[in-house]
Symmetry: C2
Subunit: 284 residues, 2 copies
């Protein structure tokens, strides 16, 4: 039985699926404390059979490189009760014969979009999500990027849009990408939630500026063949076209990939990218 | 006979070595036109035996992913006569039985520093060189990063140092990292060459600002365990310490790897990183 867990900061998905990323049965519920949340996951799965594979797509920061200290553990997350909790120990204790695969929720989504979604068949793909925070998952040469930790795309810094002197809201960096362009940053800056701002509001030109500069950094570092921008704050009409236009302008003809029409696209798998990626993690 | 070629914009190195990256014999000469330069390389090697392996570390942009269109070819380089020239065809015609391995000069240097240099034993390493331009090579999970093209680290954009309104000299992007912090940018900005500026000149604080922000982007995207900064413009006393200090400040406690002392270091292999990396490419 191939199973998947998508552990998000606010909601958790537990599901049974296939190795090619289809969902057979799933359950979505709020993320609470770790023992309670994982306890529910284990009960739900255990009531349905014997998991042979468990793919876990988790919020971070989290140790995702097998063999390194901290593998399977939630690291210094501000989410109460989670720092230091071992996801893999908890799952292994419940299902000792299951093979566990673990990655970040955004890496799992990048994997799913690259196999069965908006970048199907591509080996070099970045997936960005904009919501409460800004995160990024990266597939490079067909493999998910980990590094010493894992990508923390929201925390890079980009040039200010001319005339913008908003302070930024990231508690660590103030005006990193997340501090300037996440959902809470938009709300703090414009005094309205992103979904209340019409498509012709100047907020979206600014949003495109900041995202295009973040994507320029991706181009200069991992050179994706396509970039997928999803998450709640990406859903306003025309945002992807605005990002493409700004990116083409600032790329200055230098990055051939970014000149392709539709370089920056919406996800094809929507809300299901994370959990479907969790299934796909089990066959890597 | 294991052989290597480091093809730079101004100089070329051809050498015989070992699969673990040692140099047995080498020759350095100016890079001229492609047929002449490669002709010299082929004569030099052919006069010394039968190459079984040829590792090529080349300036870019260049097609480095086998099987993709443009593999082995110099792409849109401004260097006269080189655009469209196929390095691999030329070498394969001269040594039809040799196994050819090709990557960028900076990826080769990153490989060498990660195997036998300043980041020996690490799987996640970035190598940055600052000279006529700014380039970067990246090893992620033990593999060199290619993507749709290859890293073009010099062409990302970073926030301006407060008070700096210098225009920048990159013909494509004006004020990308290379446009603000390469050797020619320093010379244009301060009216003196980098090697003429004393270690306490304000140019170096500014240089550290721009490089630290570029490295922050690396941390947020590929999360290197160590970053090596080399090239002619990196050799002033204390620059690496300045970059480390600025990086620690802007990282805001968020990236554990960057808190390690000596996160940003000088190369251990100096001028030999590229050619020694070319040998190592042959056994990947």
């Amino acid at each position: 039985m191939i199973t998947g867990i998508e552990l998000g900061g606010t909601k958790t998905v537990v599901a049974i699926g296939t190795e090619d990323g289809s969902i057979i049965d799933e359950c979505r519920f709020p993320t609470t404390l770790p023992d309670e949340t994982l306890g529910f996951v284990i009960d739900w799965l255990g009531g349905r059979g014997h998991p042979t594979h468990v793919g876990i797509a988790a919020f971070g920061p989290i140790g995702i490189v097998p063999g390194r200290e901290g593998y399977g553990k939630m690291l210094a997350t501000p989410k109460p009760g989670w720092a230091g909790f071992s996801l893999t120990d908890k799952i292994a204790a419940a299902f000792p014969n299951a093979r566990i695969a673990l990655d970040t929720d955004v890496n799992a989504a990048a994997l799913a979009e690259s196999k069965i979604g908006a970048a199907a068949g591509m080996d070099d793909v970045a997936y960005i999500t904009i919501g409460t925070g800004i995160g990024g998952g990266i597939l490079s040469g067909g493999l998910l990027v980990h590094g010493a930790l894992h990508p923390e795309f929201g925390h890079l810094k980009v040039p200010r849009m001319p005339g913008d002197d908003y302070r930024g809201i990231c508690p660590f960096h103030r005006d990193c990408l997340e501090g300037l362009a996440s959902g809470p940053a938009i709300k703090a800056r414009w005094k309205k939630a992103a979904h209340e701002l019409p498509a012709n509001h100047p907020a979206w030109d600014m949003q495109a500026w900041y995202l295009a500069h973040g994507i320029l950094s991706l181009l200069a570092i991992v050179s994706p063949s396509r970039v997928i921008v999803g998450g709640g704050v990406s859903q306003v009409d025309g945002l992807h076209a605005r990002i493409n236009a700004r990116l083409e302008e600032i790329a200055g003809g230098y990055f051939p990939a970014a000149m392709e029409p539709g370089y920056v696209v919406a996800p094809a798998l929507g809300q299901e990218a994370g959990i479907r990626g969790a299934f796909l993690l089990t066959s890597l």
